[in-house]
Amino acid sequence: MSKKVSGSHALMLSLIEEGVDYIFGYPGGAIMPVYDSMMDYQDKIKHILTRHEQGAVHAAQGYARVSGKVGVCMATSGPGATNLITGIVDAMIDSTPVVCITGQVVSPLLGTDAFQETDVVGISMPVTKWNYLVTKAEEIPWAIAQAFYIARTGRPGPVLIDITKDAQFNEFEFKYKKCESIRSYEPRPKINKDKIKEAAALINQAKKPYILFGQGIILGGAEDEFRTFIEKSGIPAAWTILGVSALETGHPLNMGMLGMHGNYATNIMNNKCDLMIAIGMRFDDRVTGNLNSFAKQAKIIHLEIDPAEIDKNVKTDVAVLGDVKETLPILTEFIEKREHSEWIGEFKALSKIEYEKVIKTDFYPETEGIRMGEVIRRINERTKGNAIIVTDVGQHQMFASRYAKLNTKRSFVTSGGLGTMGFGLPAAHGAKIGAPDKDVILFVGDGGFQMTIQELGTINQTQAAVKVVLLNNKYLGMVRQWQQLFFDRRYAETFLMNPDFITIAKGFGIEAKKVLERPELDSAIDEMLNHKGAYVLEVSIEKEDNVFPMVPTGASVSDVILEPQK
């Protein structure tokens, strides 16, 4: 059944074998044979021409995050490939399955400083789960099969395949075999039932157990198993920023967000619980604050697929290695059904303080200017938690993650570990491509929007109905907040002299509207949501809006502050 094809055709055929339906990319000299072959497979694979390679990789990330499939992006050698790097790093730290394919100069020119030659495999080595330089056409099916297998299994991550131009041209007998295992790679650690029993015993004894859950649940597709587990255990739970859509935000056991700008109760309880059950999360410093005063009083159980995460930041008492999709049901079996109403009551009391001091004024401000929190509240009221929410990075990101109502799986996309400004717009576009039947709403700041604003051009070309809510405070707001709190209000280089975003959006062929005053807000949101295509809604935000609560860097989670100290 094998036939003789060029390497570039073989690449397309391999991608089809892997079920790829979209490639986000940008052409150039060293990848031209692949682009040429692409024309013959347009019925199977659609290419989306971004306006910058960073846009391509972030779109592939957004696509992967909402669909659970591997995102694919493509770029030429040299500058094309280096423009992917930020997104690759982002995908690495946020465990997003992405396969990046880059063109490379012909193999005889490797190492000669040829035009647009860059050691892409070298550059991307510390920031990819795996990478490989293909110099022979025959290696292409094998390399692609490995790439997809590695990207999506175990703890997912980005893989880069660099293909020399001669390998794209040369012909060979194409045969494809999907990768099913790699001798040196154990994506699923063996499950140790004794450890699970130990964990269950701790859970059954605990008076004040507390669950911290992360993206591992989403990556393992274990949302239902997780819900069954917490409902039987009756244990209050809090999420890391990447874990949020693993459980409906309104679930009675969902206590809110962890971390620097997380909720008040969820931070305090880290240091009050007697048992901490960490599920598919990695104790990032933004979650733990100062490690020397984090959960010292508690026994710690860690359910995790990546052995390197065990004891990396926080020492565990019981480590349960494995995919949570497999371990959670076993754990659920061994635990006793409980209710922890008194303990949950303690959370509720603290949440009430936060509501009175922070949330109420975020949602129903008395300031003249519009605040970010109320925009999100109003959008929640319309989406009812059924939209996919994407964010960029900054204050608006924290408001969105604190307040977005989410009822569906894989419905929150943000750059968590890297905090990449410019992630939002292309990621939202990728999300809309990956989940075309859902409303995709992006919250973006005036700073970050300008980092990848050119992707409005891509959105205009695909006509994907991305709804952009631009929260314009005329500042690099998050940095300004820190300047206000920790640098004596010296606003060094954080004021932005902004362009007319409405004209820009319209120039890209995208409908847009600007809201300056509160009474216009609701109808403008309706207009945006009812509009058939993409839409940019710019909301002018109160200048010195701040996000609270806050755990200052280096402070203990117990020292979370609710409002600025005077």
């Binding site: 990478n131 490989y132 330089l133 040196s184 790679y185 004891d311």
Partner: protein, 177 residues
């Protein structure tokens, strides 16, 4: 508390793997004291032997990260009492000092070194041993004058009766497939 650890990693033989392993150390500011890369007893499997002077906690973290590298089959770490280890050192001295007295020969014999080549101008001596032992010989010979000196990285085998890697591969049902 820091001490010497010997890390052994078994891997596929892929280009660039050495780099993937060493950046794990660099990123954490862990200094590699010695490094030896060679084929292992199993065909197609490469072996890295790396020594570091570090805390147990850091070594554990580093080894987990090495193990996580896709093309690494398995990584282990050992303290000095768990392994038998050797380094090889070569010393080049002028043949004149060898001929002028018995001193060189005595030093070499006492340290159980061995003369491997004598030419009219230079003589090469080799010695196996720990870094301390080869250093000691260096210092002795250097009193008389050393022209060139080089020392290999550490090689090591465990004192265990079973082979960790074999067991691991057997478990994966892939040994000599």
């Amino acid at each position: 508390m820091k001490e010497t650890f010997t890390i052994t990693a078994f891997s596929e033989n892929h280009i660039g793997l050495l780099n993937r392993i060493t950046i794990i150390f660099t990123r954490r500011r862990v200094n590699i004291d010695t490094l030896t890369v060679s084929p292992s007893a199993i065909k197609g499997v490469h072996k890295f032997t790396i020594t570091v002077f570090e805390t147990h906690e850091m070594v554990e973290k580093v080894v987990k990260q090495i193990d996580k590298v896709v093309d690494v089959i398995k990584a282990f770490y050992h303290t000095d009492d768990e392994i038998i280890f050797q380094e090889l050192a070569l010393y080049k001295v002028s043949t004149d000092i060898l001929l002028n007295s018995n001193q060189v020969e005595n030093i070499v014999r006492k340290s159980s070194g061995r003369i491997v080549e004598v030419t009219p101008t230079y003589t090469v001596i080799e010695k196996m041993g720990t870094a301390e032992e080869t250093q000691e010989l260096f210092e002795e010979l250097n009193k008389l004058g050393i022209l060139q000196f080089t020392r290999s990285g550490r090689i090591a085998v465990t004192r265990l009766s079973e082979e960790l890697l074999h067991n691991f591969l057997k478990e994966r049902n892939l040994l000599w497939k």
